[in-house]
Symmetry: C2
């Protein structure tokens, strides 16, 4: 009992002296500095946990290590043990400087994976929440907020008569939009399975990437529209009337054609509510994984709509037996699309991606027909690090 | 070592079989259902933590209990021990049904206060992060997303020549704004010390409250502007060029007059970028704690600007020795303000608030002068529960 009470007192900090734990947190808060980005770009994680038996840190910033599984096989994990000092603070410092990137991690306290209590910066990926930090000095600078003009980010709702519901989308307007009367080109940017209209703006750091590339003169000022791409869903978890359900991976009405044929609802809404370029030359569509699949099919089903197409780690093959016109004679649709010479057809994937082979097959098909495309192959697999890099590259090629 | 490895395997779940922890989380995720809102509005918390020695849950949803401190005194905490079953799942169910409200909580795993790994819904209050849930059927329904028309929420930047910087603000536009040509009244809604332009929209559930009250016909459609109220700061932590600093409570340039005199920069920006009512009768200002202090002073320093003023748990007294004109002869400023008969001067505070006595003193002053105001006294203290309730009441009285 004594240990339990001291645990409570330690964990609640100053709040133990006030009735109720919900006083505004002007005072109190975490007791450790974590993560600490050191001068040499190593990073130190800390957590005050005097009563824990083991604490680890796991994430893409931790070196890969092999651990034996109970069945004798080996597993590869990016997980490291933290060391406890006499005051009860556990510490781990990564052994090598980290390249400039956005990293995500969790702590594991006596077997429970949690976000870092000392770090308020976290992002949700479907139903997992990670703590994050950015190492600057390179690619990571594109993901940081810098002293440049900032665009406006809006969450709004549009009517989708095709899907019979109001639906939510996220819109990035470039700095200067509100004080101008010009029309802007539009990039439609689509998320993957399990994602939603929050994915590109949070995990994808789209607003930061666009602010920074536009300020550097590398990207044209453009509107970026990030719709919800799940035809079964009005909005991201917690943002629709079905309440604070924990995010799942409902696949009803996924990749069966209804989202693709509802896409004109989104374009109509955007064109009627923002000052957009409404010609093909002013429109791009790109997406990751399922969003790449959507971009592939929407762009060939509506061959006059988009002059720029980006497939990032795209799913290629549709399920058998679907009767949507979207998947009927896709080869003929693509032929029609390329007969109209899109300005850019861009494919990017990592060589460890589980969709790598499908993408090879798709490129072989394009090659066999002589359809031109631009191809970028990266390392690693089906991860947000790659998708942020692909986006940062793709947007510099648009609307020039 | 064996225990450590098994801990890692358990915590990483399916991710142990893939290299790197950053694959898109389509599969995997939490293993427990938590929180589970039961039919009788009790709530069950769960966490899978077979290797933990003690797990507690703490928050405003837990009954108050007394615990002895090491020095023999008693502390009052809302913290309860969870019970472990043979599978390693820890469980706690609150003993009584909870009234309809938005609740916040944390779990404490072997002394470490964390968010609930099974619940993706969390909000940051200054430098603490809480897991949240809503009990419906009453006041909580105002904080839930319901099947009603939804407004647009934008994060944008405005120039503040007075403060010499670009600054960030959050704007709520009521449903229908974009498809209308009418002008809308504006509520300026200000946060407290340690807060920022994210506080009212996240902790305050402003978008949900406004959507729901407008849909019920209880509130007029209005624009709500939630600026950053810290004169030392461009934007919320992580949203400005100073990087992902952990939120602190920098008090430089706080409550010393410069924010108040910069307020016309905000109003000018809003009036020039949105279709607003620009008369006094179309403007309200309200805030909590420091934001109440700001509302008090801005509304009397600019007595022709706001017909509606709301002081929620307001700080009243300014520091001695400040030489800002904002605090010069405040009684005369208030006399001038009331000579122009504001439509509503609204004061709300909880009877346990540490600012309660100051508010009594301020009301005595208003009474002694015969200045009319509306007063609402609630239970409890300086907490978001109260501020959400005050907002839900205040906005029903505006612009009628």
């Amino acid at each position: 009992m004594k240990k339990t009470v001291l645990c409570i007192i330690a964990a609640l900090g100053l709040m133990s002296s006030v009735p109720g734990a919900a006083q505004q947190s002007i005072w109190g808060g975490p007791q450790s500095v974590s993560p600490q980005i050191n001068e040499d770009n190593t990073v130190t994680f800390r957590i005050f946990a005097p009563d824990a038996d083991t604490v680890q840190v796991t994430g893409d910033c931790i070196p890969l290590m092999e651990v034996p599984l109970p069945d004798g096989k080996m597993a590869h994990v990016r997980t490291a043990g933290m060391q406890r000092d006499s005051a009860g603070v556990w510490t781990y410092t990564v052994p090598e400087p980290l390249p400039s990137e956005l990293y995500s991690y969790n702590l594991i306290v006596d077997g429970v994976k949690v976000t870092d209590p000392s770090n308020v910066y976290m992002i949700r990926d479907v139903n997992s929440v990670f703590s994050i930090f950015v190492i600057g000095g390179g690619q990571g600078d594109l993901y940081a907020v810098n002293d440049v003009p900032h665009g406006t980010v809006s969450r709004m709702w549009y009517p989708s008569p095709s899907l019979g519901m109001q639906r939510r989308l996220t819109v990035y307007l470039p700095a200067g939009y509100e004080d101008s009367s010009r029309r802007y080109p539009v990039l439609y940017l689509l998320h993957g399975m399990g994602g939603d209209e929050e994915a590109w703006i949070s995990l994808g750091r789209t607003a930061q990437i666009m602010d920074n590339l536009i300020a550097r003169g590398k990207a044209e000022p453009m509107i970026v529209v990030m719709p919800n791409g799940n035809a079964y869903q009005e909005a991201a978890p917690g943002e629709a009337a079905d309440g604070m359900k924990q995010p799942g991976t409902d696949r009803s009405r996924s990749m069966e054609g209804s989202y693709e044929t509802s896409f004109p609802d989104i374009v109509d809404f955007v064109d009627s509510h923002f000052r957009t370029e409404t010609k093909k030359s002013g429109r791009a569509i790109a997406g990751l994984s399922m969003g790449g699949f959507h971009s592939l099919h929407i762009s060939c089903y509506y061959p006059d709509a988009f002059d720029y197409v980006g497939l990032f780690s795209a799913a290629i093959r549709h399920r058998e037996g679907l009767d949507s016109p979207v998947y009927r004679d896709v080869e003929a649709q693509i032929a029609r699309q390329f007969s109209k010479a899109p300005v850019l057809y861009y494919i990017a994937i990592g060589d460890e991606d589980f969709l790598y082979k499908d993408n090879c097959g798709f490129r072989e098909f394009l090659d066999s027909k002589g359809y031109p495309y631009e191809y970028h192959e990266s390392g690693e697999g089906h991860i947000w690090k790659n998708w942020r890099i692909y986006l940062s590259d793709f947007v510099t090629k648009l609307f020039k």
